[in-house]
């Protein structure tokens, strides 16, 4: 028997806003510790990891480990119907993931489970020289600022500042932020703006984002709930300048 009740539907909604734009199909694993998901997009550019610990849920029970395979677009369609004060209940029956939203009425949706051969992707294990925190909204705004001039974004960190910048054909843009953290090594990598935008759709998961940067290394963007009961993180492969 699997059952999970969450009084805040936003956690699921915001997570899957991002996940559904990155992968079409996904496998969620449920066990007594909670729900987790690891997925890699088809072109192997973005990796996403979601973990919702059992303590986050108002009610959580899972007798035996369970794999829930769903089409993320279908799941998102249903999640979009949830209002923010709805209580969400997740259960599974023969072949369906059942979502129930409850406020003055009880609304039940069944999503067909899909048959996929799913090999949980293993992301590269990376050592980052520079790890720091910034407000999520700052990151989101920076991306929108950069979008005016370019479709690539350079993310850079030195001992004082975090700098997002781009050079476009018709103009340049630069956003500087005093991070106030102890950074000993400068780091800089360039990313596709379009890909970062997909990750940043999860804008209600957490107020702060932890960025791990290196030189021409993947970006690690992690969002943790204050209570440590949930984590959503991404790994994004960089764009690398050609040698000549």
């Amino acid at each position: 028997m699997f059952k999970a009740v969450l009084s805040d539907s936003n956690v699921l909604k915001t997570s899957f806003e991002a996940i559904s734009s990155i992968v079409d199909e996904v496998q969620m694993k449920a066990d007594s510790d909670g729900l987790r998901l690891d997925a890699l997009d088809r072109s192997h550019i973005t990796f996403v990891h979601l973990e919702l610990k059992s303590a986050l849920f108002d009610v959580y029970s899972c007798d035996e480990p369970l794999k829930i395979n769903v089409d993320t677009e279908e799941l998102m369609k249903v999640l979009k119907r949830a209002k923010s004060d709805d209580v969400v209940e997740l259960t599974v029956d023969e072949g369906n993931l059942i979502l129930t939203f409850e406020d003055e009425a009880r609304r039940t949706f069944k999503i067909r489970l899909i048959d996929i051969e799913y090999e949980a992707p293993s992301p590269p294990d990376l050592d980052y020289p520079s790890i720091f925190e910034i407000p999520f909204s700052l990151l989101k705004n920076s991306i929108q600022d950069i979008g005016i001039v370019s479709d690539k974004i350079s993310l850079m960190v030195d001992e004082d500042k975090f700098i997002a910048s781009a050079e476009g054909e018709f103009g340049d843009a630069k956003i500087e932020y005093l991070h106030g953290e102890k950074i000993t090594e400068n780091a800089k990598s360039v990313f596709s703006l379009e890909k970062i935008k997909e990750m940043l759709k999860a804008d209600r998961f957490s107020d702060t984002a932890v960025l791990s940067l290196g030189n021409d290394m993947p970006l690690n963007l992690a969002m943790k709930m204050i209570s440590d009961e949930g984590e959503l993180s991404f790994l994004l492969a960089p764009r690398i300048e050609s040698e000549e």
Binding site: L40, R42, H44, P123, L126, P218, I240, S242
Partner: protein
């Protein structure tokens, strides 16, 4: 720049003065079957049949799909087209329930050429060349028009009687069933498909792009699910004073169309381009209908193979080139995609191979392009690149 290509092609087509067929006020002949809906004065447009003063099977005259496989020369094609006399009447696009439009629908759904008789208000004159539609011969207002009884294509007939089927779904169904593009487009343009009340006439040039982009978008939805190819590939094809090279990249879908017109008018060397990244394109392409038709042809081949790739398509049009409509691009690119491809380890060697086949230096193409230029400056890595470090 946005109107640069339109202006150039206008100049090019306005110089096309070729003798078209000479017919009188009364014409006894056949329609291949073929219809033409103009876009001038929309939504009250000039619509009508195209008739040649010939009898027997003349389907080839309005079947661009057969021209390249049957090795027709540019002269053959122009000959077919300038023999087609365009009869026309002003018709409101929603005004489908009259015997004239019903005859046009009859023609569009026909399997075979149809014996036709027409009477014009005066002797048909002139000819029409355009970058988007296939050329045709003289035209005149049509006063009386009769056709023999018609045998309909079964698939088109089904779509015609299904007034709950959306036009876009009908286009896709017919395409999946292997109905030739030009037949689908003709039926689409005369309002022979779609949800009952929403049926209308669609100008020929718009209907071509509507069908190309409807099919292309649907193919793209499936292609996005496929695995990316392993290497760089080059497909090529040359015909009708054009050279086409399609370079497929081992990446998710992205697409650029770059075309050069070389010494077609005089000493000019003009390059036009447009592109989309993985999220697609907003608004109508600045290079016109060829953008969508080429995209459809490339996606068709990818869907058939069950693979995903990015595509950079280069085209050169040389002296002697006559704009024959976007079919030229569709059929050339389709033919390219049906040839064996050459495989390359990296983009540089793929491009240097293409360099040996084109007349302009590659750097001219790169300079004009957005996507190709970008790809040469930096490349998107994958997470696999970081796993063994």
């Amino acid at each position: 720049m946005i109107n640069g290509k339109t202006a150039y092609l206008k100049k090019l087509t306005s110089r096309m003065k070729m003798p078209s067929v000479d017919v009188g006020k009364e014409l006894d002949g056949s329609t291949p079957p073929s219809v033409f809906i103009g876009s001038w004065n929309y939504p009250k447009v000039y619509a009508g049949p195209m008739i040649a003063p010939l009898s027997g099977d003349i389907t080839i005259m309005d079947m661009p799909e057969s021209w390249i496989p049957q090795d027709k020369s540019q002269e053959d094609i122009i000959g077919y087209r300038l023999n087609l006399v365009r009869g026309k009447q002003i018709v409101g696009i929603k005004d489908l329930e009259n015997s004239f439009v019903e005859k046009l629908q009859d023609i569009s759904l026909s399997e075979n050429s149809i014996e036709s008789e027409a009477e014009f208000s005066k002797k048909p004159r002139g000819s029409s060349f355009s970058d988007e539609h296939t050329p045709h011969g003289p035209s005149a207002l049509i006063q009386k028009f009769d056709i023999e009884s018609v045998k309909w294509d079964r698939e088109l007939e089904k779509v015609f009687y299904d007034s709950d089927l959306k036009a876009s779904d009908a286009v896709l169904d017919l395409n999946n069933k292997g109905i030739p593009f030009s037949n689908i487009q003709k039926a689409f343009s005369v309002g022979a498909m779609g949800v009952g009340k929403r049926r209308k006439l669609v100008p020929t040039r718009w209907s071509i792009t509507a069908c190309d982009s409807t099919i292309g978008e649907r193919l793209l939805k499936t292609v996005r699910y496929h695995d990316v190819i392993d290497n760089y590939r080059v497909y090529e094809f040359a015909s009708l004073n054009n050279y086409y090279a399609v370079m497929l990249l081992p990446s998710e879908w992205q697409y650029e169309w770059i075309e050069a017109f070389l010494h077609v008018l005089g000493k000019e060397e003009l390059i036009f381009s447009d592109y989309e990244n993985n999220t697609g394109k907003k608004g109508y392409s600045r290079v016109g209908g060829c953008y969508y038709t080429c995209k459809m042809a490339v996606l068709e081949a990818l869907a058939r193979e069950g693979k995903q790739a990015g595509a950079i398509v280069l085209r050169e049009a040389y002296n002697g080139y006559v704009p024959l409509g976007v079919f030229n691009v569709r059929e050339n690119v389709r033919n390219a995609m049906n040839q064996n491809y050459l495989e390359f380890e990296d983009m540089k060697t793929a491009l240097s191979y293409i360099s040996t086949k084109i007349k302009l230096p590659m750097e001219n193409f790169v300079k004009q392009s957005d996507l190709l230029n970008e790809l040469l400056q930096s490349r998107q890595t994958t997470l696999n690149n970081f796993i063994h470090k």
